[in-house]
Amino acid sequence: MPAEVPARKTISTPLGDGTLNARDFNAASAYGPPIRVLPDVHVLKIGGQSIFDRGKAAVWPLVEEIATCAKQHQIILGMGGGTRSRHAYSVGLELGLPTGIIAAIGNSTSLLNARMMQMLMAKHGGILVNFEEFEKLPIYIRNGGIPILVGMPPFHQWERPPETGRIPANRTDAGVYLMAEFLGAKSCIFVKDEDGLYSDDPKKHPNATFIPKISTRALRDMDPNDLAIERVVLDYMERAAHMRHVQIINGLKRGYLTRALDGEHVGTVISADPHACGMLSEG
């Protein structure tokens, strides 16, 4: 050991120079709100099991509607995984693999759906954007392109252990939501195969009632055993600087996406600000 502890070479900032502590976190919150990086984009999540696994009957008409909408709106697509993810997860779980590996595996299904979607949308300007090219979004959007991204967040082996089980808590809903939040997007729309949120899974419980709008807190209090959107998204919404509400819409019904992009309430709006619930556009 050196006779004297070697001194730190420091740079003075309002944040301290040791391990970040409570004082630093307070100092950090004094800087003011973050900017919106791409405030005019709408971020759409295309469901894997709910839309893509239905094949051309569901996907082709949706592709045409997205292409038409893209003439008026800036659109970024994030792709879900679906039944192949489920198959890969169940094999991975059976092998005793940890959550981090399961998350890395999940990425691939979402990627191959993104590649297929890109081929379908190429003639309308669909372009596959890898994580490494994220900063190129402005040029694609400015030239009328429709960027298509993997829905899974890039956490992979760094996906933290979930509270229950080993299936990653951050999957394609969370990844697409976090992208919308970072971008400060105009809206974040989840395109699925139901009109929105129900009191229970409507595919298994035909008596389930439709919920047109709900706050994150009310949804948490309901504490449904099952949920049409990943639970972590609710946590993130409550801490978000920009994406305080999201909408779940039915991608099997033509025209709903067009109306949602125009700011209409056509599915279920989930909001972290109950008083603003139902307000769709940040304007």
Partner: protein
């Protein structure tokens, strides 16, 4: 045998699996995986994280004796090294926050500071087998470890623009968490954080001379204490509550390099933070 299950034209096609048609948000479906053991991927590797502000910012006199000890220990133990960022990362956060960059942007740019530190440490350790491990090359670890190398990672996890909004504007998932997750996923033999104190104290020993060393504590207890100065990132403690492998971490004084070999040998030097074994979660 894999089978396709077609629900009809325009309906979903499934691949037959136990999760088929299931909602992955259904708690009963999720909980089914809890009963099973998780395999350790590289159980004989030790993950050692070198603090940025605590060690690296102190320069040569702090770094070189520690690296000598790491090279010495590598003769006996397989080691993966992580490097922190330190004060340049703090200055990066400061500049970014001032400019109104969102949290995901902070997480994206901060890693560059770790990369500087990683390249410096790799250059010094190269003749002893130090090698830069990019996160994409994770799967080649078995080869490098068998060849006696010392892989060096940037501690920052790859959350990038996807950093979740956390309790503060600064990224919640930082270097301590990044290296902790390496040990959790690999099922490593140990997770050692090298800092500039003998361990965790009841208060910041740099400011309060009456602060007492805590030799052993549960992560749940430590979270409940809600200490203003915590020598380890909260995200690590939160993750330990649900971890399947890395339920024990150790904080060791990297300015006393001789302590590292004792920690690697399993001695309780410094502070041991340990979640009770056996349970799925640390009972709170």
């Amino acid at each position: 045998m894999t089978e396709l299950v077609n629900e009809g034209s325009g309906e979903r096609t499934h691949v037959l699996s136990p999760l088929m048609r299931e909602s992955l948000m259904d708690r009963r479906v999720l909980a089914a995986a809890d009963a099973q053991e998780v395999i350790p991927i590289l159980p004989d590797v030790h993950v050692v994280h070198i603090g940025g502000a605590s060690i690296l910012d102190r320069g040569r006199d702090a770094i070189l004796p520690l690296l000598d000890e790491i090279v010495h220990c590598r003769k006996t133990y397989k080691i993966i090294l992580g490097v922190g960022g330190g004060v340049r990362m703090r200055h990066t956060y400061h500049t970014a926050l001032d400019l109104g960059i969102p949290a995901g942007g902070l997480a994206m740019v901060a890693g560059a500071v770790n990369e500087q530190n990683r390249y410096m440490i790799q250059a010094v350790l190269a003749r002893h087998g130090g090698i830069v491990l990019h996160k994409d090359h994770y799967v080649v670890l078995p080869l490098w470890l068998a060849a006696g190398m010392i892989p060096i990672l940037s501690g920052m996890p790859p959350h990038h623009y996807w950093e979740p909004p956390g309790p503060s504007c600064v990224p919640h998932y930082r270097e301590d968490f990044g290296m902790y997750m390496v040990s959790e996923v690999l099922g490593a033999a140990s997770m050692i954080f090298l800092k500039d104190e003998d361990g965790l104290y009841t208060a910041d020993p740099k400011k309060d001379p009456r602060a007492l060393l805590i030799e052993h504590i549960k992560p749940s207890e430590l979270l409940d204490l809600n200490m203003p100065d915590l020598i380890i990132d909260r995200a690590v403690l939160e993750s330990m509550l649900h971890a399947r492998h890395a339920r024990r971490i150790q904080i060791v004084n990297g300015l006393k390099p001789e302590l590292l070999s004792r920690a690697l040998a399993g001695e309780r030097v410094g502070t041991v933070i340990e979640a009770p074994q056996g349970g799925r979660t640390d009972a709170r």
